[in-house]
């Protein structure tokens, strides 16, 4: 079985994604397209955690740290260089370097499980506290002032060959969607490679993988860095969608929310968390248009009902249901066949034995 045959579902989803990308701007209003860019950015963050946690087994409670670092790095680099393409590259590289340092610190110190969750969360909270302090003029990287709690305005994307041309919101949407589709196909491919299978085996049984001779620390570090790169890219898209980056991205609420997307969408799938992020994005947006009933109350009730009713998460539940239906159909067909055979054989028997 080749990887590509195995990825049929992935390609189907990618095609749906491309169709959506092409059709959405003709159907939806401009504001919806602009806001979709933000949703796509969050979906990217969800995808990165889906990879790191769902496949790598690394419970990273502070995935937003890479998201935020990517957003800040893009903004600072774009203000200084004036070229968005360079800035995107820098953002991804900075996120990877940050993850490599943090990952080395954790994995080579054999930190795992909830202890790792706490370290990553803490790192995110430290960034939140420190960047909040940077309102003064002395916090300047090149031409970019960090702006403290108010954050920095992020320059919009421009063309690498014509820096004077800034992309329109629709174009930014195309770019964001394209990045998401590419990242999705890439991660789906990655988890099917030998590297990916080793990463999964480490998640399933760390000790056994190590005894088989794999350096689990290295594998964990690498998947962690890849996750950070995707999260960093998400951060770039986020500050383009919102037009701004603020230390808010590092706060506890957003850290926890990322975990929630993955659980809602289903751990161990890639498209699940992406859909989870979109779903909760639209839920909170829709709730925000009303203020009769407290929004925390409604969101809380929905999540609780969800966890009780759809315990495995969205995508695994749908998948199981489909498999079950298919099985049942096969079962039915088989039963029918057996039944007809039996009747046939019994009639044959009847005829043959003449009882």
């Amino acid at each position: 079985m080749t990887i590509f045959r195995d990825m049929r579902a992935t390609f189907t989803i990618a095609v749906i994604g491309i169709l959506f990308m092409v059709l959405a701007p003709t159907v939806l209003e401009l504001f919806a397209i602009i806001n979709l860019t933000t949703a796509i950015a969050l979906a990217m963050l969800a995808l990165s955690l889906a990879l790191v946690w769902g496949y790598g087994g690394i419970l990273c409670f502070g995935q937003t740290a890479f998201f935020g670092v990517g957003a800040y790095a893009y903004t600072v680099a774009a203000i200084n260089s004036g070229d968005a393409a360079t800035a995107i590259l820098i953002a991804v590289v900075v996120a990877i370097i940050f993850a490599s340092v943090l990952g080395y610190f954790m994995f080579y110190g054999r930190v795992s499980d909830v202890y790792l969750a706490v370290i990553t969360l803490t790192v995110s909270l430290i960034l939140f506290s420190l960047i909040r302090r940077t309102s003064g003029p002395e916090y300047k990287i090149g031409d970019a002032l960090l702006g403290g709690f108010n954050g920095v305005t992020a320059p919009p994307l421009n063309l690498p060959w014509d820096r004077a041309y800034f992309l329109f919101p629709e174009h930014v949407f195309y770019v964001a969607m394209a990045f998401l589709i590419i990242a999705y196909v890439f991660t789906a491919w990655l988890v099917r490679t030998k590297f990916g299978r080793v990463v999964i085996s480490i998640k399933e049984n760390e000790l056994r993988a190590e005894l088989l001779g794999y350096d689990i620390r290295l594998y964990k570090l690498l998947i962690f860095m890849i996750g950070a790169a995707i999260a960093g890219l998400g951060g770039v898209l986020f500050c383009n969608g919102v037009g701004r980056v603020t230390p808010d991205v590092f706060n506890l609420y957003n850290s926890a929310l990322t975990i929630i997307w993955v659980i809602v969408g289903g751990r161990g799938t890639l498209i699940g968390p992406v859909l989870g992020a979109f779903g909760i994005f639209y839920l909170t947006s829709a709730l925000g248009t009303q203020s009769t009933i407290n929004n925390n109350l409604i969101l809380g009730i929905i999540l609780i009902i969800f966890v009780l009713a759809i315990p495995k998460g969205l995508v695994p539940t749908v998948r199981d249901w489909m498999i079950e239906r298919k099985d049942r159909r096969i079962q039915r067909v088989r039963e029918r066949r057996i039944r007809t055979r039996r009747t046939r054989s019994s009639t044959q028997n009847a005829e043959g034995a003449g009882e």
Partner: protein, 419 residues
Amino acid sequence: MTFNKNRRRFLAGASIALAAPAIIGRVQAATDDIKFVSILDQSGGLDIYGKPMVDTTKLAIEEINADGGLLGRQIDLKVYDPQSSIQLYTQFATQAAAGDKADVVHAGITSASREAIRPTLARFQTLYFYNVLYEGGVCDFNCFCTGSTPAQTVEKLVPYTMNKWGKKVYVVAADYNYGQITAQWVQKYVSDNGGEVVETEFFPLDVTNFGTTIKKIQAAKPDMVMSALVGGAHVSFYRQYAAAGMNQSVPIASTTFGIGNEHKLISGEEGDGMICAYSYFEEIESEANASFTSRFKDSMGDDAPALNELAARSYEAAYLWAEAVKQAGSIDRMQVIEVLRTGLSIDGPSGTVAIEPKTNHALQNVYLAELKDQSFNIVESYEAQPPTDTLLVCDLVGNPNQSTFYFQNGLEAAGIEIQ
């Protein structure tokens, strides 16, 4: 330079992209109601500020509608709840401006939320009101900041309390832009008046244990404490301060206490003697205010929260805008802005509020009040105070084509000498 030019090209492009739906939008608008959008936190940590603001905005719109509306049309108030998230602020601002085609947007509580949505509303040419007291410095043709600024409140509060209590001041402030910049204003006015700031401390918004700081205050032996603490967790400071007996020896002045109705959250003994400065207190004795408070209580019933500057100013700002629409005879953004910038004024519960055309801020009355048994007694009032802080850096009459926040990086960055 190039950036600006490109920016304009980008904006022009964006407005072309908008043109098609905008035409349909306008046809609709002729038959539809006037669209008034309010984006204020109704849940999450900032709801203590946002809820009373929405309540009074609703009251104002109901009253205007009951009075026959504007230009013979009714006002349709749409409230979005950004749930204390900056990202949702930009989303809803985009939706209000590009989707709802709002005629005016009243929005924002923290400066971060204002700065997040100001460019969006400017890009989609949607009139914007920000009705919260803040650190000053916004200079934007499209944005009207009606709340009080430090030159209006801190400048009065510092000399008054220093005369009363002494010249050594200890500053405690919330650790984000508002607190940091307000602390600089305090520093400036304290030294302008011949006093001394012995120490300034900043607190993350979720700190609930202030014990160490209280010991430091005791060690520094100041004559007074100036507080710019913000939010629910920081209420703990006042309670622990009182529990250590400090409210008896070193009194507190504040430009933020009471704006989330904190004076109702702590007991009389804990709060008595604090002095605060705002452009509105529920306890102002005037006919306009008496009628406003009773109308508010009637509309809200028993659940009516205490009224503060944020709530009163949201109400007055809705009327300011309505008056401008009436005088302009149109809801066209430029015509309304022109009328507002003639120095338009209304008489509201806080007294006369007028637009100051150089800054798009408000000329407003300022009151100093002392807390006693959970209510404020007005001890001093100043009429028609100009936003002199923002006037130092902003002149929209000379150069209307501006959209800058001058104090983004503190006062020294804006060329204002602190000492």
